[in-house]
Structures are given as structure tokens and as C-alpha cells.
């Protein structure tokens, strides 16, 4: 029997009690949980408005016990801008996939970052379009097979992966911009710390914050969950190195107690 003394793991307060729709082994759920834990620890649940994307996370609003809106494909940063500009004391975050953020929504994300919109973006890089059945994304690795690059991504005709964290970090409006990975417990803990810092950045009005999270898509990659985690570590990290691409001086001074 679970008693308060034996309970070591439970649903964060920021989560609703709904069964997940994500595939087995997909790390979207892990990312959701980290955000929920951070919102709870920072006591932000009742002040937060989330913006869901078009993509596998289109139903993100089913899981978070906060107010939520659902944006057109790629437009979440613009919607978040509209919300934050009229409600500057609320916490506004978008949650976006790589097709959403780095392809159709490239204009919106770059300009939200350039304006230094005081919002937080959680960016899920799973190297493909999950929801529509695993087509090539701007983040698909060279040579990687997807349903729309059946011979493997040919960089001669299909171009090269886009490194969003590095690109956005060049913009002066950005306060915090990092890449983390969700492939093992240590990295998941580091990812959570980054998400915390991103929300702290917003809370203190230090500008645009983004955490890119390398994620799995076992279903569309045609791998077991364990193989998919290994793929992130061995194949994705070399193309998308983990690291802090921009930590503004004000953000660097923030100390976060171990969570």
C-alpha cells in the first residue's frame, strides 16, 4: 500500500489526472512532467498560460492544470506575444516541435526572440514530424530516413539540419538559450534545471528564454524505446551538441536550489 512515507513519486500538482496519448517510449511525456514540476516548485500554476502547438503536443492542454490556448501550426510565439503584451505579469510559455518551430514557424520564433519577448519556449527536437507520420523535419539528420526522405536525407537536395539554439543565441533579445537531452536520468535532471532557469528568466523579466530538448520518436524512427534513447545519445548529440548557447549576465546570477 502507498502511504505518505512510502510515496516517492506522484503526479505533480500542475498535472491533470489524464492518461497519456503519447506513444510508449516517447519523451514528450518526460518534457511535460519536467515543466509541471517546475511550475509547481515555483508556485506558478495559477499564473501560467500555456500555448500548445500543432504537432504531437497539440493536446498538451489536456495534461497541464493551467490555462491553455492552442495555436495554429508554428504561430505559438506570436500568440504568446499577444497574451504576454496584455498580461505582462502572467507566465506565458509555448511548447513546440521542430516542424512547428523550425520550419513553418521560423519567422514567428526568430522575431519573438529578436524582440526579446519575455516568454519561455520549450522546444522538442525529435528530428522528424511526429504527428503526421514521420516526415523529414528541418532537424532531420543527414542521411536519416523518414517517410519523405525514403533514401535518407540528401543534403545536396534537401539541405542541412538547422541548429535552432545556436541560431537564436545570436539575438540580443535572448536571455537564456540552451540545448539539453532527455535520453538518460542525468540529462533529464539537467534538462529540468534548464527549464527552471528559463522560467526564472521570464519571472525576472530578463528576456526571451528557450530550452531545446533532444527527444525520441520510437514509433516513427522504427526503434524500440531503448534503441531510440541510444540514437539520441550517439547520433543526435554529435549534430546537436548539448550546451549553454546564451546565458545573459542577469540570468547567470540566478541561483536555483537543487530540485
Amino acid at each position: 500500500m502507498v502511504t505518505p512515507t512510502t510515496l516517492v513519486y506522484s503526479r505533480p500538482q500542475a498535472f491533470t489526472d489524464s492518461p497519456t496519448h503519447y506513444c510508449p517510449g516517447c519523451t514528450h511525456g518526460v518534457a511535460h512532467r519536467l515543466i509541471a514540476e517546475v511550475l509547481e516548485e515555483m508556485n506558478l500554476i495559477s499564473r501560467t498560460i500555456g500555448v500548445a502547438p500543432v504537432g504531437c503536443a497539440v493536446f498538451a492542454y489536456n495534461y497541464f492544470d493551467t490555462d491553455f490556448v492552442e495555436a495554429p501550426h508554428g504561430r505559438a510565439p506570436a500568440m504568446a506575444t499577444g497574451i504576454k503584451r496584455v498580461l505582462p505579469d502572467r507566465i506565458v510559455f509555448t511548447y513546440q516541435g521542430d516542424g512547428d518551430l523550425a520550419s513553418i514557424g521560423m519567422g514567428e520564433i526568430v522575431h519573438a526572440a529578436a524582440r526579446g519577448e519575455n516568454i519561455t519556449v520549450i522546444f522538442i527536437n525529435n528530428a522528424n514530424y511526429g504527428m503526421t507520420g514521420g516526415q523529414m523535419a528541418p532537424t532531420t539528420l543527414p542521411g536519416m530516413k523518414t517517410t519523405s526522405s525514403p533514401y535518407g536525407r540528401d543534403v545536396e537536395t534537401q539541405g542541412y539540419p538547422i541548429r535552432m539554439a545556436e541560431m537564436l543565441a545570436t539575438l540580443d533579445g535572448v536571455g537564456y538559450c540552451v540545448r539539453r537531452s532527455l535520453h538518460d536520468p542525468k540529462n533529464i535532471r539537467l534538462a529540468k534545471k534548464a527549464i527552471r532557469l528559463a522560467f526564472e528568466t521570464q519571472l525576472r523579466g530578463l528576456g526571451f528564454s528557450l530550452v531545446e530538448l533532444l527527444s525520441t520518436c520510437p514509433t516513427n524512427w522504427g526503434m524500440s524505446p531503448v534503441e531510440a534513447l541510444r540514437f539520441v545519445e550517439e547520433r543526435m548529440i554529435p549534430v546537436f551538441p548539448l550546451g549553454d548557447y546564451k546565458v545573459a549576465p542577469g540570468v547567470a546570477q540566478i541561483t536555483v536550489r537543487n530540485t
Binding site: 492542454y61 491553455f68 495555436a71 506570436a78 500568440m79 499577444g82 497574451i83 514567428e108
Partner: protein, 372 residues
């Protein structure tokens, strides 16, 4: 308040401010840019939100976000920019949040030109974004009417949780006229039971246009239609001139209607029994007014600055009970009152068009223009 000289675009901007505009998002495009430029000065001065967006896609989605919070929000653009906004417009309609959108129309299709036009009538009234959704469309014909309708637009949008669009042509946006501004209304933070503002002391709210279960989406479509029926019953607005004894009725909206009024007055001076119906709401459309007129007038003359778009709505209302003639100048050309007067004289002398679709006869009459 005393009358002052106001330029159409700036008048709309100030009228929106006085109606309690909390946020404006836009992108430059002629002949509408003065709205953006005016609000770039005015909104920060009042501590209200203003963003020049990266594109009309950005602008309409910022509007969408702000609208979800229940704030009074507006964007403005001209034809090509409004086309780019159509995705967001459909989402806003599907989410049932209020928003005011101004289209200062220019000649098209494509990049077209920057001259005055009414060619986006069908896009505004019948088409535009994907899916089945109603929207209110207002068509001012003077700077004063643009001011009055801007204020009304916010109230209508909020009452019906619906998009309210103002369509005017570039000449009205650019022209200066004496007009009276309403008093400045204070900003009221409205407590809508649907607005997303952070779930403080209440259950959380979700605003979305997704209904993955088709049966649920069907219910939404019926709900929107029901609300639209209310709008049709309550909100039809139009202006009529000399209709009491009119045998010929000219129908025109916005600037075309205003030019037609000069022609109607001149024809009256010649003893012709002609009147003018100028729809102010082109959506909902005053179908029943036209239907009623069709029972006893000789016929109608529709004048537009396009190829005959509202013409179809007039024909729908007339239902073949009387002939419906057309005279238009598309592409950014503005008709002179004389041109419309000549048409009225033609009809008064009994020369009605032989073609079942009077647009064909009109195109033949325009041969000299087309061959230029």
C-alpha cells in the same frame, strides 16, 4: 465634441483608442499604414500594447493570443496582408473569440496596386479562411461613419464572440473630412467567463479551435450558425435615400455607394424616380430590405468597385422578381458620378440589359475601356 479634420485611417485608429483598444498588432502596407503609424505613437503614450509584427501572419496570431485574454484588440491591413491573415482569422472564428480587423482595400488580384478598390468583398463576406464560420462585416462610406463603426465593431465582436471586420477602400482611408470623435472611454477589464487569464481562484480554461471528434465539431458549427441567425435578426444596418417613391434602386456600399448618391441626386434633379440603398452591414446583408423593394420597383442597379461581387447578393435577394443591372470599375479605378448617372438615365429610358447576367451586358458596354 466639435468636428475636426480627420484622415480616414487615423480616424479609425483614434476611434479604436477611444473605444478602449488595449492592444494593436500590425504590419505596414499601403494604403493602410497610417493606422499602424498613428497607433505606434498613441498606444505607448497611453501605456497600451503595440507591436509591429514580423508579418501579417505574426500580427493576426498576436491578435488571436490577446483576444483569448478578453482584451480589446485590433489589427489592420490591406488586401494582400488580409489574405495572409486568413489562417488566423479561421482559427479566431473557430475559437469563438472577439477580434476587430480593418481591411483598407486596394486593387488586385496579386500585388495589384495601391489604388482604392472593393474587390475583397467576397473574401470578407463569403470566403476567406477555411471552414464554416460567420463574421460581421461593416462598410463605412465616410470618415464619420468609419469612426462610428469602429466603436460599434468592438461591441459587436464581444457580444457575439465573433470577428468583426471593417472594409473600406483606400480613398476613404486616405481622405480627410470633418468628423466628430466620441469621448475617450476608460479601459474596462471585462470579466468574460471564457477568457484565458491564468487560473487564479477558478478552474482552468482552455481556448482552442480543435474538436478532434467530428460530432463535437458539428455541434460547434451549429452553435456558430445559431449565433449568426441572432446577428441576422438584430444587426442588419443600412442607409436609404429617396426610396419612398423610387422606381429604380441603386445599390452600392462604401465609396461606390457614396458616389452613387451624387448620381442619384443629379438624376432626381432631372426628374428620374431613383433612390439608393447603401448596406452598412454587408454581413449580415440586408436581404429582406431588397426582397421587399423587389416587389414594387422596376429594377436595380448595383454599383461596385469590383467585377460584381455584391451583385450576387442583390440577385439572391431579388430572386428574379426584377432586373438587376451592374456597373462597376474594378482594378483600383474609381467611378465618376457621371458614369453612374449615365447608367441611371439608360434604365430610366427603358433600355434594360438583354443578358440574363447583366454583368455580360456591362462588359460589352465597357468595350472602349477594355480596349484602351
Amino acid at each position: 465634441m466639435p468636428k475636426e479634420l480627420w484622415k480616414g485611417n487615423e480616424a479609425i485608429a483614434e476611434a479604436a483608442v477611444r473605444a478602449g483598444l488595449q492592444a494593436y498588432f500590425g504590419y505596414p502596407i499601403t494604403p493602410q499604414s497610417e493606422i499602424l503609424e498613428y497607433l505606434a505613437r498613441r498606444m505607448p503614450e497611453l501605456g497600451r500594447a503595440f507591436v509591429q509584427a514580423e508579418s501579417e501572419l505574426g500580427a493576426i496570431n498576436m491578435v488571436y493570443g490577446a483576444a483569448c485574454t478578453g482584451a480589446r484588440v485590433m489589427t489592420s491591413s490591406s488586401s494582400p496582408g488580409i489574405s495572409l491573415m486568413m489562417e488566423g482569422i479561421s482559427y479566431i472564428a473557430g475559437t469563438e473569440v472577439p477580434a476587430v480587423i480593418v481591411n483598407v482595400m486596394r486593387g488586385g488580384p496579386g500585388l495589384g496596386n495601391i489604388a482604392p478598390s472593393q474587390a475583397d468583398y467576397n473574401q470578407a463576406v463569403h470566403g476567406g479562411g477555411h471552414g464554416d464560420y460567420p463574421r460581421i462585416v461593416l462598410a463605412p462610406a465616410s470618415v464619420q461613419e468609419a469612426i462610428d463603426l469602429t466603436a460599434l465593431a468592438f461591441d459587436l465582436a464581444e457580444t457575439y464572440r465573433m470577428i468583426c471586420m471593417l472594409i473600406l477602400d483606400g480613398s476613404l482611408g486616405q481622405m480627410m473630412e470633418p468628423a466628430e470623435m466620441p469621448e475617450m472611454k476608460p479601459i474596462v477589464q471585462r470579466e468574460f467567463d471564457w477568457a484565458v487569464t491564468g487560473a487564479m481562484n477558478r478552474p482552468r480554461r482552455i481556448l482552442s479551435s480543435i474538436y478532434i471528434d467530428p460530432v463535437a465539431e458539428e455541434v460547434v458549427n451549429f452553435r456558430l450558425a445559431k449565433r449568426w441567425q441572432e446577428v441576422q435578426v438584430r444587426e442588419v444596418r443600412y442607409k436609404e435615400y429617396y426610396l419612398d417613391d423610387a422606381e429604380i434602386v441603386v445599390v452600392g456600399f462604401g465609396t461606390a455607394g457614396r458616389i452613387a448618391l451624387s448620381a442619384v441626386r443629379a438624376a432626381r434633379a432631372e426628374g428620374i424616380s431613383v433612390g439608393l440603398l447603401r448596406p452598412v452591414t454587408v454581413s449580415p446583408y440586408p436581404y429582406s430590405v431588397i426582397e421587399e423593394l423587389a416587389k414594387h420597383v422596376q429594377g436595380f442597379l448595383v454599383t461596385e468597385m469590383n467585377m460584381g461581387q455584391m451583385f450576387d447578393d442583390v440577385r439572391l435577394a431579388v430572386q428574379g422578381r426584377a432586373p438587376v443591372e451592374f456597373y462597376g470599375r474594378p482594378g483600383g479605378v474609381v467611378p465618376f458620378p457621371d458614369e453612374i448617372l449615365a447608367e441611371i438615365r439608360r434604365l430610366a429610358s427603358g433600355q434594360w440589359s438583354p443578358d440574363p447576367d447583366a454583368r455580360l451586358s456591362w462588359q460589352k458596354r465597357m468595350a472602349s475601356v477594355i480596349q484602351r
